[in-house]
Subunit: 265 residues, 2 copies
Amino acid sequence: KQLQVTPAFRNMASVAKKPKKSMDALEDESEALEALDSCQNEIDALNEKASEEILQVEQKYNALRKPYYQKRNEIIQRIPSFWVTAIVNHPQLSRILEEEEEECLQFLDKLEVEEHENIKSGYWINFYFDENPYFENKVLTKKFNLGAVNNETPVSTSTPIKWNPDRDLTKTLPKKMAAAGRRKRHLQYRTFFEWFTDNNDPINDDIAELIKDDLWLNPLQYYLVPDVEVEQEDDEDGEGEDDFGEEADEEEEAEEVEDEEEKAS
Amino acid sequence: KQLQVTPAFRNMASVAKKPKKSMDALEDESEALEALDSCQNEIDALNEKASEEILQVEQKYNALRKPYYQKRNEIIQRIPSFWVTAIVNHPQLSRILEEEEEECLQFLDKLEVEEHENIKSGYWINFYFDENPYFENKVLTKKFNLGAVNNETPVSTSTPIKWNPDRDLTKTLPKKMAAAGRRKRHLQYRTFFEWFTDNNDPINDDIAELIKDDLWLNPLQYYLVPDVEVEQEDDEDGEGEDDFGEEADEEEEAEEVEDEEEKAS
């Protein structure tokens, strides 16, 4: 916002209520305001410089991290079902993943978050898929252009998915869910592919942010069983009361963890 | 969160469902997990270093800004009613300021935000008052210790106010407001001094954050009439439709702006 140092202060009203000021006092006030304006400009300039330096640090580390992320991706490709497992284990991401989508993400071979060189301006999330029965694409990308540069309007776009006949999960899944009368979960997006294809509100895309700022930072922690659970299994027959609330949310996936519970008991 | 590389992966369940893997395949997977863990540790270490460098930049600029803030405070003290005007003009802060509190804040001579040397660990907001009919204190400080260091619990504390007899605005104001049957505004805090004395939720103290991250960064912009309004006065008799919504919120303060409107017409 551009500001003007004009004599039209809101406090003129209150000034008017007070005993009249001498011309000297008013002149000093006016001088003080000019001095204040130039002092504030110096502070603003420092803030600008601070932001720039911080951006530089972030860019430097982005470049330093890049080879590690590449190496990490190569290692991950040696571990079957790594990404789908990490997503299934992620407390928030798992909530948008429908069972059939989980089957589809078994073919997710590589996930990649690419930040723009000016990291404030946006990022891409690339999903690389093996050949699969659902769609023809090898890569599905959701691109975020957050427009910090040049004050562009924030937009996101997603690769159009070339679904195989009758395998379009954005069409078949909602129908199935409606037919089964399943209550909606309290979430902005109902399914993974609904999230992927929805570009209505790019600056409030919680799922994209979770992928970028949480899953991508350390997917291993989600692939592995969290500490807490391991400790609870060691507890005397502990049924894991602490995360009972979470489990209750996931009743629908109950079948999928049965094997695991058999193992634990 | 501490993580362990244990053989208890959640995906054991799904692995079990699949055709049995050869010992070789399992060994490779296990090797890959170890490589992944060490690669992730290197990424974590880089992230740690990035955070430290960013903190250093912030500390450097905090030190560089300090003399300008001091100079700014000296200049501001030459401008009568500066802080109370800036607060009254601030769209959010003004909403917690009751009329009688505004009178009290006319004695607010200096405002200061002091960040801890480790800026993540907290900050103080100092309100310096001239001698006034409300309380004896010369300085009212609200201190935030956000406990980023050593994982302390976040706490805030406020200087106990030595109110003069019958001038305790935390007691007289709520009574008056209740007597007048005034509906509460939709805000966490109802009055300025209720905010100041309330330390129940230091990490979600919106008002403190507005003072620190908005008002303190550039109080001049709030002291001055925003551009928008000036332009609207130049418009043909413009009644300022754009911010009519805001004005409607402030009906209660209508008397206070009458003088100003007279001047404008």
